[in-house]
């Protein structure tokens, strides 16, 4: 049986190589031309704790983590018990029979489970660290992946110019063969994975948060302040390593309040400033974001969403911060929001966010989520010449300038240069002095909102736009929704597809199209149906499919839900 893709879940204890196995498999597969995507949950403790990561391998670009598990690799008994039920009918479970917990173990589903003596086989090669390769050999047999692919990967990976390269390469290849042969003896197989179609473009293998960092530096980011918080910490670490040298600043401070207020100082001083945080930190930034809006300071805050509220679910995924991101502060405030849905978009979104902040001189929120932040995926290598980088208009006239004059955006004076003013969090007149006049509050409020019109250049995806019913997801639910949409179209359903990462302001043309629909179905990972609620306030007949499990949508679930909602809507239309 030919297979287009397969999903392997590695489960065990933190520190057992769960993540490295999945990422190793993904790397090996992409190297020979497959597409790969990993989906990780990491344990919420430093050492040990149950953890799992899965890798989906396919001959074409991958949209979601995959509904079903084809192969489970269980490193311990607990992992076996927890995940066995998620393996699809006809799937296979490999368990490490060398783990003492599996002594005298008799799987109840006998036919599909088999014990692989991973440690012993690895040891027999003389290289204890080749356990991953034993597993990879086993997987290769299950999907009938040609040995030369794996050999190429090993050659590439371990040719490091060291004296023992040859020895290590040979032991790893031997480990793979042992895994392969052992599995072959078990008689288990899944089918034949379609041969890879090597992508034409150069590819990067990259984690969502790293892609976001690359986008930010490509846009000219030179000022980063952060505070550790899952799942945004990796951005802080990346920046501290890479944003170094004259004119650059990356620094860990003592709280998210220091992050946002430090950023305000940096943005005011002319820097392209960004921080990244998650829900709890974002809440602490509330007042500072209001100040950025009020005093018109360009800066970007990345919210890597996790389950909330309060401490919530630090290591699970959710899309429940949209209201907070759009309306983060007291008073009349509505911040520009860009929400990324894929690893590629994490790169692009960061460029757009910094460009927008510079262009309208104010704070921009860049939303991502745990499931994208930690996902490792192959993406087409971005070509920097395709991206326009924007810089704020800087005031270059004389002193005595009125920084906040009129309704239009005005060039921004930078300390050290002419045009000294007071950036003021109190309502202010055109030179930045505090005022209480009603007409001034009217003018300044309208000035701040009118600047959002400068940001209506976001693009959007659309397909089969003639239907009166549409699916429009946002953020990380894009992938599963897109897969569900494709399946429904294949089944002959007449339904439109819309998607944008620009949630505020929405591209005006998109909003116009959405307003003409009888129903816009919004899959989103929160209880309240936050995005559909915002769409309804814009006169779009939107309804959510909500989920609040801390996990991404399954495509199957969306296919069923969307069908039901579409049918109900059609019936209602016929009746009226």
């Amino acid at each position: 049986m030919q297979m287009r893709d397969f999903v392997v879940r590695f489960a065990g204890e933190g520190g057992q190589g769960v993540v490295t196995s999945a990422e190793g498999l993904a790397q090996a597969s992409t190297q020979v031309g497959y597409h790969a995507l990993t989906y990780a949950t990491f344990p919420s403790q430093i050492m040990g704790g149950p953890t799992w990561t899965q890798a989906r391998i396919s001959d074409e670009p991958i949209l979601s983590a995959g509904d079903d598990v084809d192969v489970l690799v269980a490193f311990n008994r607990e992992a076996y018990e927890t995940h066995a039920s998620e393996v699809r009918e006809g799937g296979v479970i490999i368990y490490n029979s060398d783990d003492k917990e599996f002594e005298n173990f008799a799987p109840t589903d006998g036919s599909k489970s088999f014990g692989l003596p991973i440690d012993e086989l690895a040891r027999s090669t003389g290289n204890n660290r080749s356990a991953n390769m034993v597993v990879m050999g086993a997987l290769a047999h299950l999907v009938n992946m040609p040995q030369e692919y794996l050999d190429d990967f090993v050659d590439e990976r371990f040719s490091r110019g060291r004296s023992n390269d040859a020895e290590i390469i040979s032991s790893n290849k031997q480990a793979m063969s042992l895994g392969r042969n052992h599995t072959s003896d078990s008689g288990l197989t899944l089918g034949d994975l379609a041969p890879p179609k090597k992508p034409e473009n150069k590819q990067l293998m990259i984690k969502g948060n790293d892609a976001l960092c690359l986008g930010a530096v490509a846009a000219g980011l030179n000022f980063y302040i952060g505070y550790p918080i899952s799942p945004a910490t990796t951005i802080l670490i990346w920046m501290e390593r890479n944003l170094v040298g004259p004119g650059k600043f990356a620094y860990q401070v003592s709280s998210e309040i220091e992050s946002i207020t430090g950023l305000l100082g940096g943005g005011f001083a002319g820097r392209k400033a960004m921080t990244a945080t998650a829900g709890p930190g974002f809440s602490l930034m509330s007042e500072g974001l209001g100040l950025a809006w009020m005093s018109e300071i360009p800066l970007v805050v990345v919210d890597v969403q996790r389950g909330g509220p309060a401490t919530g679910l630090p290591t699970k995924t959710e899309q429940s911060d949209l209201f907070s991101c759009m309306y983060p502060a007291h008073g009349d405030v509505k911040l520009p929001v860009i929400a990324v849905g894929t690893v590629e978009e994490a790169f692009q979104g960061a460029i757009w966010a910094l460009n927008w902040a510079e262009r309208y001189q104010g704070p921009v929120i860049l939303m991502t989520e745990m499931a994208i932040a930690e996902r490792v995926q192959n993406i087409a290598k971005p070509d920097l010449s395709e991206f326009k980088i924007e810089n704020r208009k800087v005031y270059e006239g004389n002193n005595g300038y009125h920084r906040y004059e009129g309704f239009e955006l005005s060039p921004m004076p930078i300390p050290g240069g002419p045009g000294a003013y007071v950036a003021n969090g109190s309502e202010h007149d055109e030179m930045g002095d505090t005022t209480h006049l009603p007409e001034r509050h009217i003018q300044m409020t309208e000035r701040r909102f009118s600047k959002l019109k400068l940001l209506e250049d976001g693009f959007y995806e659309s397909e089969n736009t003639d239907s009166s019913i549409a699916v429009m997801s946002w953020g990380g639910s894009k992938g599963p929704s897109q897969e569900a949409y494709a399946q429904l179209r294949e089944q002959g359903m007449d339904i439109s597809w819309y998607y944008t990462m620009f949630l505020n302001p929405l591209p005006p043309q998109l909003l116009e199209e959405l307003r003409n629909k009888d129903l816009v179905i919004v899959p989103e990972l929160n209880y309240q149906g936050q995005f559909s609620s915002i769409l309804r306030s814009e006169n779009v007949k939107a309804k959510s499919i909500t989920q609040y499990t801390g996990l991404p949508f399954k495509v199957r679930h969306l296919v069923q839900k969307i069908s039901e909602m579409a049918q109900a809507s059609e019936k209602a239309t016929v009746k009226s």
């Binding site: 790397q27 992409t30 190297q31 990067l204 293998m205 990259i206 790293d210 690359l214 490509a218 000022f223 302040i225 890479n242 170094v244 004259p246 650059k248 600043f249 620094y251 401070v253 003592s254 309040i257 220091e258 207020t261 430090g262 950023l263 305000l264 100082g265 940096g266 005011f268 001083a269 820097r271 400033a273 007042e287 209001g290 100040l291 005093s295 192959n378 290598k381 971005p382 920097l384 002193n399 005595g400 300390p415 050290g416 240069g417 002419p418 000294a420 003013y421 007071v422 950036a423 969090g425 109190s426 007149d429 030179m431 930045g432 002095d433 505090t434 005022t435 209480h436 006049l437 001034r440």
Partner: protein, 288 residues
Amino acid sequence: MSKKNPEYDFKWCPGCGDFGVRRALEFAMIDRLEETGLPIENNVVVAGIGCSGNLVHLLEGSQPYGFHGIHGRSLPISMGVKMGRPDLNVVVVAGDGDFLSIGGEHIAPQAARNLNICAVVMDNGVYGLTKGQSSPTTKLGVVTSSTPFGKMENEADPLELYLTMGVSFIASGFSGNPRQLAGLIKEGMNHQGFSMVHVQSPCVTYNDTYELLKGKPKEGIEPLVWDIPEDHKPNDKAAAYNLIQKRGLPIGVIYKDESRPSLDQRIEDIWGKAKEQTPQQLIDAYEF
């Protein structure tokens, strides 16, 4: 505000100590301009919330840049300005409520970083703008609008606090002597690190301490403020500590440690340890 702005309607009460602090800051900035030749726009005044923070709008003559932010956050804002542009002279102006209460969490980190800014704190022992509530430096037992039966907390000793938190330059001043205060602020500005100039700046409406501070020599009442003797060694931490323990309020430079690098110097020091890469190089590293 270089000239009177009819729209700006905030006023300090006649006799407010903050007038003297404003004069002192103006003197210090003008002196700096004359000495360095750097234009006044090279100064940034980051203000807290309260009567004192309004100083940023009330400066007369040539205007520095200003940032009048949110309550308690003048220090981290000043950190952003300074680290964004280490060539600028950054001064914080804040009151005891803003700086020591809601903003108290930001002092120790700046001290540890030795952020190269000068913070001028106007201490009047009361929340003036909200009409007379107790502040961290209000004395134990004092009746204010928010402590109807007397203040329940012990008063903070800001100078001792700064010293134990590791602030590398600590001066104590009095708004009644703007020339002397200007000298302290200027020395603070010139210090390569985190400098605190803590100023007694009485609130004539809710906590008038002028008489206490100046005393009534004719009636034999000793003033609270006294000049630090010239033989005091500010680089001696123990001597600084002893000075603070003495009766009344020593005026002058209490402590000064010039041996520690400032945050901007520390950042420069790591440049040699890391490899600076272009965005293209960083992207290339992920290619397979």
